[in-house]
Amino acid sequence: MSVADEWTAGQEATAPVAESVDLLVLGAGPAGMAAATEARAHGMRVLVLDENGAPGGQVHRAVEARLAKGAVEARLAKGAVEARLAKGAVEARLAKGAVSDDQDKDGAKLAAAFRASGAQYRPNATLWAVEPGGKVFWSEGGAARTIQAERLILAAGATERPLPIPGWTLPGVMSVGAAQIALKTAGLVPEGNVWLAGQGPLLWLYAVQALAKGGRIAGIIDLSPPGGFARARPYLMRALKAPEYLWRGLVWQRQVKRAVQVTPARELRAEGEGRLERILVDGVAHAADLLLLHDGVVPNTQVTRAIAGVTHGWDPVQRCWRPGLDVWGNTAVAGVMVAGDSGGIGGARAAALSGRIAALEAARALGRITTDERDARSGPLRLLRDRQLAPRPFLDAMFPPLPEAAIPDETILCRCEEVTAGRVRQAVGLGCLGANQTKAFTRAGMGPCQGRICGPAVHGVIAAARGVEGGEVEPFRTRFPTKPLTLGELAALAG
């Protein structure tokens, strides 16, 4: 069998794992799919690990199933030839205008190209460790596996910034991102007294999507700090290089406001006996069955922070960490690259472009193309990416994260260990300077999520309590395994 035959996306579930690959891509969102497709075009052996059951990531989640209603998957299972046919089927549907939204159109194209690329694709696979030298570990079907990778492109996407309010741990309160997953994968639309609260583009997008599917929204509580446009105005001209972003945002807001009451507010609490019953908006009670919270997204740095030697810088506007990268996506550790939102929030189109750019650099590093070829091929992609990133400073200034200083003391920050903001502030008062010290005093961040959920909130509360920039506060030390795996799964590696 030729290399191309061995490494086809069609073999996914049953194929044995080889001992080594040229390129391992983490994540099958836009960045990961584009990186894998580009790398295959240069003859590299590519393995893609993704936690989800189908390609797309968060933004294009379940895009194939929604568009092709299962037909694509069934054909793909049979092999590469069928994959090409299926690709044709999707494209035919695209041509007929069966796809209503631009995002789905982008996602379907990326997924079809990825499926046909010959990259080995392992869905439902959770990466949990990267050792120096490129040994990668993941779990799949209840057993741990390992492979040696020459290079890594980490395209782990974004995570939602937590929005801790009093009562946010009650059943009936969830994040907008989680609700969007339910909407995209299971077609679950909000029913009853459903409230959206917080700020940021995803909140408005979800509202548009939910309303379009016939969902009902009782109201939107807009918690965004006042003065957004004034803060963002200096970046307006630059943002207009890609005016469709701002235009789309305005259209979303207008559509939603036509159907739903939007209430600006400063304080929000969730209350109920055993589950959510009502929300208090600046002291005014409303009946509530479901409360969806959102405060923007931050780069998912779980894996990069656990790799010794990868540097991270503090983004003072969005108050989050991002890995230190060059234009190609190289981290400070040779062979470890980052593409897409996990390197800095840029959206789906910028992510796909940075995935291709990173793959070209990987092809150069492995001697598949020359430096000149890389530069020639990536030039137009880098220009397109710059255009896609043009509106970011505007959006970042418009929607800064909500101030952690305003989180009431009784609010739980760490859900796993039930540690309140007040207890973290107390620990700071006792001399704790960073998240790793407050761990010892409060157990915050020591539960099963290891700070993956509460990390940004605990970090922000410590910084605010100390009166310093977040960049001066040491974040939770992240260690592999970055995702919980069972002892039994790990034991499987002992043979």
Partner: protein
């Protein structure tokens, strides 16, 4: 007041400093390159164990055990010490034969803390243990403590006794002054003292070398696992006769698993990292001896760096090349329990040049080839 310096802010350095500061007439300063408890002291398994000690270590370990039972009187905190027992399980009749021989050997020396138990007793002690376990050695009043809490308690007690702790001070040279005291050069200037203790753990052999003495010593980076909280199912700390395991459930319900499986060590960068291919064996052994944990989620893994002489026993004794300098290092991953007694011994050596505590087997002279 006579001046003493202790180099190294791990548990052995803190214990040495504490005991010496409580000796009338001594002013003690402790120098720590990073921060107190940075390496293995703060992150070890916390075993308070006489069970299975190498024969030359038993005498000091028995004294340390008595000190652990009075730890609150020593440092003003119970250090999370719980005398829940230590059990070393036998998984075959061959293991049982070894256990009988071992306990007979220990008893012949006059020690009675180790006891062989049969299958019925091991099942009574460990209801969740796998059915294949046929017996065990037990030390009933051994147990475990919380390593970081212990480090913090020793630190507080040392400071209350007058020890000045200087963190972020790295030693770069050692020599003798004209008036006969020892000069310690650091990246923050010079210190002088009549007595100096070398408690620098994995980096202690390098300090010995600065003083002109070569002591054969490698390093260790034992790996540890902690799981999510589980319902309470085991009290004692558990090991195995034929396999590398240390296994205990904390008061919080998490299960801490070690056993000396080695990670990767970078002494120059002062870091160590986990090797999951090897750690998998720790998980496998744990899940075979306690099948109920196979489904438990691992939430964290880590390593700590530690010194390891060729015979896995510590080096305690005065420097041959720079008298007045006293070594205490190389505890090879089982120094946590010994720390109260070893610190007392080294402090006594420093203050009066001799001790009645049983440290004679640990002299570095054991590595010198007789002429």
């Amino acid at each position: 007041m006579k001046k003493a310096l202790v180099i190294g802010g791990g548990l052995h350095g803190l214990s040495t400093a504490l005991h010496l500061a409580r000796t009338p007439g001594w002013q003690v300063t402790l120098l720590e390159r990073r921060h107190v408890g940075r390496h293995s002291s703060g992150v070890n398994a916390g075993g308070v164990r006489r069970l299975g000690r190498a024969l030359p270590e038993i005498a000091l370990s028995v004294i340390a055990a008595e000190m652990w039972h009075g730890i609150e009187a020593l440092v003003g905190d119970d250090c999370g010490f719980r005398a829940t027992g230590q059990v070393k399980v036998a998984e075959s009749e061959a293991d049982m034969a070894k256990n009988h021989a071992r306990v007979a050997q220990v008893r012949a020396l006059g020690w009675t803390h180790e006891e062989v138990v049969d299958q019925a007793e091991v099942r009574r002690l460990l209801p969740a243990v796998s059915r294949h376990v046929v017996g065990a050695i037990v030390t009933r009043d051994d147990g475990s403590a919380d390593p970081m809490r212990t480090v913090m308690a020793f630190r507080r007690a040392a400071e209350q006794a007058g020890v000045v702790i200087r963190e972020g001070v790295a030693v770069t040279g050692l020599d003798r002054t004209a008036d006969g005291s020892i000069r310690v050069q650091t990246d923050q200037g010079e210190f002088e003292a009549e007595r100096v203790a070398n408690c620098a753990g994995a980096w202690a052999p390098d300090l010995a070398a600065l003083a002109g003495e070569t002591i054969p010593c490698g390093t260790k980076a034992s790996m540890m696992i902690v799981t999510e909280r589980l319902p309470h199912f085991v009290d004692p700390t558990v090991g195995a006769t034929a396999r590398a395991l240390s296994f205990k459930q904390t008061a919080a319900g998490t299960v801490v698993i070690g056993g000396g499986h080695q990670g990767r060590n970078d002494k120059v960068a002062e870091t160590s990292s986990v090797l999951f291919g090897s750690l998998a064996f720790a998980a496998q052994i744990a899940a075979q001896i306690f099948p109920c944990v196979a489904g438990a989620r691992i939430i964290r893994t880590w390593t700590g760096t530690e010194a390891r002489p060729p015979d896995d026993m510590p080096v305690i004794g005065e420097s041959r090349s720079l008298p007045g300098l006293f070594h205490s290092f190389g505890f090879s991953g089982h120094g946590f329990q010994l720390s109260p007694a070893a610190g007392a011994a080294v402090a006594e050596l420093m203050a009066r040049g001799a001790t009645n505590l049983p440290i004679a087997p640990f002299t570095q002279d054991r590595f010198t080839v007789p002429a």
